[in-house]
Symmetry: C2
Subunit: 204 residues, 2 copies
């Protein structure tokens, strides 16, 4: 006899447990919840999960997630094609899009250089970035990679490789978050925010 008295329940619990952050107890709670709901809900959830992985495409230009050949951002003619923001993954695209402050395009690297994890430049979408730099007339490359050793390594690698080909290289500002007290900011962030202080005429 199975743990959960039903092979179907066992299967569902086992598969749910493979998701990150979901233990057996939570998986069981989710499965029992689905059993109490209409059959249509389980079907919609199951099919959405299957279709996501099966049907998803990646933008041929920027590697962002997309339902078509080009993503919604790359195919939006109102965006400024001379600006390209380099990010680690599509979550970063979403985060920047949610600010509503950026009107350029993106390039999703799909990771950062990490010798510890065996990830080198060849494992990232850098060749396609080079092709874009050579053909799309990009004037500024904005680095929005994580502020980690790996992120810094990747920044440096891209700078060395493309500095001659792009007029402006920049990185998003790091500093004390808006609303945060100075005394609670870590020293590195606070130090950066003093070094990179902004003259009044720039920000107003």
């Amino acid at each position: 006899m199975s743990n959960y008295l039903s092979r179907l329940l066992d299967d569902a619990v086992n598969e749910l447990t493979r998701l990150p952050g979901i233990g057996r107890r939570t998986a069981l709670r989710l499965a029992l919840h689905l059993l109490r709901q209409d059959e249509l809900q389980s079907e919609a959830l199951g099919n959405a999960i299957i279709n996501l992985r099966k049907g998803v495409k990646y933008c041929s230009r920027c590697n962002n997630i997309s339902d078509d050949e080009l993503c919604g951002i790359c195919s939006d003619h109102r965006r400024d094609v001379s600006l390209v923001c380099v990010v680690e993954d599509i979550r970063d695209v979403m985060a920047i899009e949610n600010t509503g402050q950026y009107r350029g395009l993106y390039h999703v690297l799909g990771g950062v250089i990490s010798p510890m994890d065996g990830i080198g430049p060849a494992d990232l979408n850098i060749t396609s970035l080079e092709r874009r730099i050579e053909t799309e007339g990009i004037s500024e490359l904005i680095m929005a990679l994580p502020a980690t050793t790996e992120g810094d390594t990747t920044n440096f690698y891209l700078f060395k490789r493309f500095q001659e080909k792009v007029a402006t290289f920049s990185a998003i500002a790091r500093g004390v978050a808006i609303g945060d007290e100075l005394e609670f900011a870590d020293e590195i962030t606070l130090g950066k925010s003093i070094l990179n202080r902004v003259p009044y005429h720039k920000s107003f």
Copy 2:
């Protein structure tokens, strides 16, 4: 353009968000995780969810979850058919089975009487319990319902209705949990555990 740049991702996030305890941020994290895994994993998860709700059966005797007409407990001939433990739902069956201390059968009510939620005796699996009491030679009915007003109401209702038909009516012991300090036990539990104290010859 959708929030998440892809209708497929949107659909998956929306469906995952309908699960209890899963917000949009977690749903997105789960969906992006699935995108990084092999397609087979999404298919296994999706199919397990669909098949669970579609294929699940309930035991015709005790209403426990089952893959067959009779559940694994009811069809196990080594179990003591004269003992029936009445529980609210199948999670309680699992919890008691996990103790390894009970060798009788169960009866899953599917809820408790709750006038506030509009749940009366007719909404619970009580008619099937009555039929079992009349035909199966049950000698003891063990109430293992929650220690709430609704649980107590249901206990009382079942006692009034079946007291003449069953030799012994009992309820699981409530008291200070093993390992708990007396000073931290709530007064009602501690009071119960004094009232229902167990003479040495019973427990040893």
